[in-house]
């Protein structure tokens, strides 16, 4: 297939599946809280709706940085789609993409001059201290499989069985990372309702939601590829639905944590994960 067509197709799939999964997550959360909840396509509809809504550019914003930072979020997740489903490239590159995602989160908050965004920005820096160690799960995968290239990791799993069974603590760490990126999660301090959704408040909302759908799809895709491996498209879809439902259960039943508690919980989990995995690898 033509490379560009392949990329466009994968980006479109990532956007549509990601949006519907996020809508599904809201639906499951609503049912747990005994509400009827919005339809599953609500997130997708919202994305389209926000493309038609008016956006004002505040006088206090740092132009043109204020617009470019939202484009940056889209750029890195399109790059992630190319590294992931299109070329099955290096896992280390995902680490870089995730690091830049944290930077975008931080600066989308501070670029508008809004006090809520500013708080979100400071919280993004705090949470980076906890989420980057969680991403260090990559090193454990490297120590186990001897490679960082996704296609080789899939081959390794075809020969030795799923990594989910051999390094479960690493999978747990990655799951906590996915959980922290989901909406309404106990760790989503940067998007907390106490700071009016933080950095998301005043940017081009439809555009941000587009990138977030892709990022949700990609995080689940990496989890399934790295820890289960060698799935067909239906397998991916089932896996994503299961993880999303599981995340929805956790989010519906937990309150959003105070920033300090959130960071300390993540750091503790990261510490347990790294030390535990290294001990498991040695013995």
């Amino acid at each position: 297939m033509n490379l560009m067509a392949n990329i466009l197709l994968n980006v479109t799939i990532a956007f549509l599946v990601g949006s519907i999964l996020l809508g599904f997550q809201r639906k499951v959360m609503a049912r747990i809280q005994m509400r009827p909840g919005p339809p599953i396509i609500q997130h997708l509809l919202h994305t389209f709706k926000f493309f038609l809504k008016e956006s004002a550019f505040p006088k206090t914003a740092a132009m043109p940085f204020y617009i470019a930072i939202t484009a940056m979020l889209c750029v890195i997740w399109v790059a992630a789609v190319i590294v992931g489903p299109v070329t099955e490239g290096s896992l280390l590159l995902f680490f870089a993409i995730y690091a830049i995602h944290k930077i975008v989160e931080h600066n989308a908050g501070s670029s508008s001059g809004s006090p809520y965004g500013k708080l979100s920005c400071v919280r993004a820096v705090f949470s980076a201290a906890a989420e980057v160690p969680l991403f260090a799960v990559l090193i454990i995968i490297y120590l186990k499989t001897g490679t960082m290239i996704l296609s080789s990791i899939v081959t390794y799993q075809n020969q030795h069985g799923a990594l989910l069974l051999s390094i479960p603590l690493a999978a747990l760490m990655f799951f906590v990372l996915i959980l922290s990126k989901s909406p309404y999660s106990p760790f989503s301090i940067t998007k907390g309702k106490d700071i009016v959704s933080g950095y998301e408040t005043e940017h081009l909302r439809g555009y941000l939601m587009f990138s977030e759908s892709i990022s949700w799809y990609m995080l689940l895709w990496i989890f399934l590829t790295v820890f289960i491996g060698g799935l067909n498209p239906v397998g991916y879809l089932i896996g994503m639905v299961i993880i999303t439902a599981f995340v929805a259960f956790i989010n519906a039943l937990t309150p959003i944590l105070n920033p300090n508690h959130s960071v300390m919980t993540q750091v503790t989990l990261a510490f347990i994960g790294i030390v535990g995995s290294v001990i498991l690898l040695l013995y």
Binding site: T60, A62, F65, S90, L93, F95, G113, V122, A128
Partner: protein
């Protein structure tokens, strides 16, 4: 070990005498990202922070004045270029120099701010950065002593890891952690972000995160687990 199992296949190298720059997709992506953010900073104006006033219902805007703006923009661009350089260099000593430059410039970016809390945080971060210089250069020197080279493309050919290389890389990691102010030292650094002047603050965070990602690659090159 082959370097391509870490960041993907090598797309090209630029030999500048002793210093060899190499590009894998991983290095190239981070290099491009650092340059893109630097370019954005160079053309952007700053935000003005809106704060609530005590005793009234009015808001107060905190602006960055022109002299401060020019100084901070210059330092931010230097920091961005140093970050971009550190992403592609294939020379360990070169990398440590870039990291120390980033440490110095990061303090400079917030040093012109007239807020006591921010200056306190910058002062404490500066102390850690200075202390971090010793293990940083010491670690690089130990790696040089134990391998006989500081070129990463040479080190990657060495089939074994000695305990001195491991010790050197632990020191090296401590140095980078102190210099960029990550994980255990981040609490003091986060206070620095409360100042107005958004696009310049970006580069402080950007440089530290990208340097850490690159450091992980370098440590995996030096220490071969199998």
């Amino acid at each position: 070990m082959d370097i391509s199992i870490l960041g993907g296949p090598i797309l090209g190298i630029i030999p500048l005498g002793d210093i060899v720059l190499y590009f894998t997709p991983f290095n190239l992506f981070m290099f491009a990202a650092a340059l893109a953010f630097t370019a954005l900073i160079a053309i952007s104006s700053t935000e003005s922070q809106v704060e609530a006033e005590f005793g009234t219902l009015k808001n107060r805007e905190v602006k960055v004045d022109k002299a401060e703006f020019k100084l901070r923009r210059f330092l931010a661009i230097v920091c961005g270029l140093a970050t971009a350089g550190a992403m592609v260099t294939g020379d360990l000593f070169d990398f440590t120099l870039f990291v120390t430059l980033i440490g110095i410039v990061n303090i400079g970016i917030v040093a012109a701010v007239k807020e006591i809390d921010v200056l306190d945080a910058a002062f404490q971060y500066g102390l850690i950065a200075m202390i971090g210089t010793l293990p940083l250069f010491g670690g690089a020197a130990l790696i040089l002593a134990s391998t006989g080279t500081i070129s990463l493309l040479q080190i990657v050919q060495i089939p074994y890891t000695t305990s001195l290389m491991l010790f050197g890389s632990i020191l090296f990691f401590l140095g980078v952690a102190g210099e960029t102010g990550v994980a255990p030292f981040f609490a003091t650094k986060a206070e620095m972000f409360r100042t107005p002047g958004s696009p310049f603050l970006l580069i402080i965070h950007l440089s530290s995160l990208l340097i850490i990602v690159r450091t992980i690659e370098i440590l995996l090159i030096i220490n071969k687990p199998f």
